[in-house]
């Protein structure tokens, strides 16, 4: 009897303990819901030093106010920035939120079904404040969010200009080559530059009448060897003949060439807003002047500037947390985050709610005005990476290296475009129907 009773006590205790454990477990599940983790592939630091710190702060603050959300930031290296996301897009597996350079690099995954339109997730009352959204608009939808704007202004050293008797920053190409000759006569290197990436192709824009022109050439409806697309190379050849560049332009990288300006050895160069700010710090803001590109072309876009939102941020199509991702992206445009962005990077954010009065330095005011006035086109965004690498880069190396003329350079670009058309037939179909809109 005693044994049976004690056995039933033990069994009863076990059942009670099990029930308690189950109830406690269920309660714990109710009390602590699982956290949603958003993986964010981020890139911006190279454009805007301080961007990584800004994002870390923004994430910390967002996680503090959204207990159920955790954001894992994965910084992306520049060299593999496009390739890594393209591979993820092909596998439809990867981050919830990601960054890509605007226009072409954003639209290619849009066409492959890898991106969810951000205009489906964020109300128009919000997106209407974002700047340069036309860069990522396709099929009536906005696909990615801007954070900042940058351009490629030309800069000049006021002291060296004065020394050579160059009275004003060159407005036309003739002014530019004329200034080069005056500077050379005084033993000053006119323009510090390198030869490893594209930028010189931006001048092509000045002979175009619309963005449709460039899309047509990429898609094969026109040829890059046509005068409209090839004339600008002659301008660069004129600059080479006028000895505008440092004598080692063919073997230096662009940053090394720009260093000649930063160290006061060259009178001019071009660079992104962030680098211009750093040169102003090195040389003294009063010595550095900023100007638009001198005009060579005769197209309707000859006066367009080259500001872009650079990288854009979007929600992937395979994310299980699309709305949460979009909500976080939207939070990056809060007043506090916009102010923090400017404070940490010195780059004005791409949002019309940002109080311009916060921009105090003359240089920043000039840059902001350039970036937000008139039509804006960063032409590189309209070239598939394959055409850019196999066409624009070698074409620039040919001309700046003094080894070929505009005709040969244009033939290289057309060859690269023809190769792209032959190898990327699916992408080509999208380019053939694409009607791009200019940012204003």
């Amino acid at each position: 009897m005693r044994v049976r009773r004690s056995r039933s006590i033990v069994v009863g205790a076990l059942v009670a303990a099990l029930t308690l454990a189950l109830v406690a477990g269920a309660a714990a599940r109710i009390e602590a819901p699982q956290k949603t983790t958003l993986t964010f592939w981020f890139w911006a630091e190279l454009d805007a030093p301080g961007a990584n710190k800004w994002l870390a702060q923004a994430v910390k603050s967002y996680e503090a106010s959204h207990a159920g959300i955790s954001i894992k930031v994965v910084e992306q290296p520049t060299d593999t920035f496009i390739a890594t996301f393209t591979a993820a897009a092909a596998a439809k597996k990867g981050p919830d939120i990601a960054a890509q350079w605007a226009t072409g690099p954003v639209l290619a995954p849009v066409w492959n079904g890898a991106i969810t339109a951000i205009s489906d997730l964020v109300p128009k009352s919000e997106t209407s404040h974002w700047l340069n959204t036309s860069e990522n608009t396709y099929g009536g939808k906005l696909w990615a969010m801007p954070v900042y704007l940058i351009g490629i202004p030309w800069v000049y050293n006021k002291d060296l200009f004065a020394k050579a008797g160059v009275a004003a920053p060159p407005r036309t190409w003739n002014d530019f080559t004329g200034a080069c000759k005056k500077l050379r006569a005084k033993g000053i290197t006119p323009f510090g530059f390198g030869n490893d990436f594209y930028w010189t192709t931006q001048l092509m824009l000045q002979d175009l009448n619309s963005l449709q022109d460039i899309v047509d050439a990429v898609a094969g409806k026109a040829k890059f060897t046509d005068a409209k697309y090839a004339n600008f190379e002659t301008a660069w050849k004129q600059a080479v003949d006028a000895k505008c560049f440092n004598d080692d332009v063919a073997s230096l990288t662009v940053p090394k060439g720009q260093d000649l300006f930063a160290t006061g050895k060259a009178a001019m160069t071009m660079g992104t807003d962030g680098t211009v700010r750093s040169w102003a710090k090195t040389l003294g803001a009063s010595k550095v002047g900023v100007m638009r590109w001198p005009v060579y072309g005769k197209g309707a876009l000859r006066n367009a500037y080259d500001a872009t939102q650079s990288t854009s941020y979007f929600v992937t199509s395979w994310s299980q947390h699309k709305q949460e991702g979009a909500d976080f992206l939207r939070s990056l445009h809060s007043a506090a985050n916009l102010a923090a962005w400017y404070a940490l990077t010195g780059v004005p954010p791409a949002d019309d709610r940002f109080p311009v009065s916060k921009i105090t330095s003359a240089l920043d005011k000039t840059l902001y005005k350039l970036n937000t006035t008139g039509p804006q086109v960063w032409l590189q965004n309209f070239f598939p990476p394959q055409v850019d690498l196999d066409g624009n880069v070698p074409a620039q190396q040919l001309v700046l290296g003094g080894r070929g003329d505009g005709k040969a350079a244009a033939a290289l670009r057309e060859r690269a475009a023809a190769r792209w058309r032959a190898t990327k037939k699916d992408e080509l179909k999208n380019w053939q129907t694409w009607k791009p809109v200019i940012a204003k």
């Binding site: 030869n195 490893d196 073997s251 070698p394 074409a395 290296g401 070929g404 190898t423």
Partner: protein, 311 residues
């Protein structure tokens, strides 16, 4: 008799089973040794190779779309950039005799017992220990238009020979070739010196006693003894020039200016990763595998002949 017959059968069966057992055991042991090795080879070598060929015959971002065709090979063989890359890899083969002769000369000099030869051996081997990107960055500086090499040429009155080594399309590839030679010579010297130090000194003494001069000793004693090492080194360098120069090119010119130093590995890298065209990359990899395999087979055949001759 009947009883005796039974015992004979039993003895025969016992004998048969006794003779089968070791055979079966040997068979099992054979399988136990061969199967893991075969599996390892299959997983590590044969499967990737088969997959590479499969990708090269198909299309799409994962190389598994469409019917199997030779279109990728046709496209690649028609591509002027590919042809340019092939020419550049072939031109780089010229660096092999230069590196080999330099390695032989240095090894012989060190073997002659010059004072401090051990220190010199370390110095010569040092570039081989450095990573290629480090050497690439250093050579970018050395060969710059305003770099050390041109400065020295200017200082010794040979300023007319100064070149834009990286920026001039005629000099970019030879500059890379010289970087490869600089890196690889140390490896050759160490290989050859190790062989020379393993030879008995009596071999050289006997030749000298017979009245052989320094050059004759090298020609008739040293070089024949080095033949197998030289062959191995040449084969390794040929393979390097065909399919191991990516790091040299990427850390210096990235194939430029205007494709002047573009090589097959860069073609594979850009198509496979940057342009997301893995089928073209696979086709070139298969094409590149053919000459590399031929070189290795020739080497193996030659080694076998040498072994037979020795026997």
């Amino acid at each position: 008799m009947a009883g005796s017959g039974i015992s004979t059968d039993a003895a025969r069966r016992e004998m048969e089973s006794a003779s089968l057992k070791p055979r079966a055991r040997r068979g099992l042991r054979w399988w136990a040794l061969v199967v893991p090795a075969a599996l390892f080879l299959g997983v590590v070598f044969l499967y990737p190779l088969a997959r590479l060929v499969q990708v090269s015959l198909h299309s799409g971002p994962n190389g598994n779309e469409g019917p199997a065709t030779l279109d990728n090979y046709r496209f690649v063989l028609d591509d002027p950039i590919f042809r340019q890359a092939v020419r550049h890899n072939l031109a780089l083969l010229l660096a092999v005799p230069i590196a080999t002769l330099a390695a032989i000369a240095i090894a012989l000099a060190l073997h002659a017992g010059i004072r401090g030869w051990k220190a010199y051996r370390t110095v010569v081997f040092m570039p081989y220990m450095l990573s290629v990107p480090v050497l690439g960055s250093t050579f970018l500086f050395l060969y710059g238009l305003h770099g050390v090499v041109n400065s020295i040429l200017g200082d010794v009155g040979l300023g007319g020979l100064a070149q834009d080594w990286w920026g001039d399309p005629h000099w970019a590839l030879p500059s890379i070739g010289s970087l490869v030679v600089y890196h690889e010579v140390g490896f050759g010297v160490v290989l050859m010196l190790a062989r020379l130090l393993a030879l008995p000194p009596e071999l050289f003494d006997a030749a000298r006693v017979d009245g052989a001069r320094w050059w004759q000793v090298q020609r008739y004693v040293t070089l024949p003894q080095l033949r197998s090492v030289i062959t191995t080194y040449v084969v390794l360098e040929l393979i390097t020039m065909l399919s191991w120069v990516f790091a040299y090119v990427y850390s210096t010119t990235k194939g430029g200016p205007n494709f002047a130093s573009y090589v097959l590995e860069l073609y594979i890298f850009e198509n496979g990763f940057t342009f997301q065209l893995p089928s073209f990359a696979a086709a070139v990899a298969v094409l590149l595998l053919i000459p590399t395999t031929l070189v290795i087979m020739l080497w193996l055949r030659r080694s076998r002949i040498a072994e037979v001759n020795l026997e």
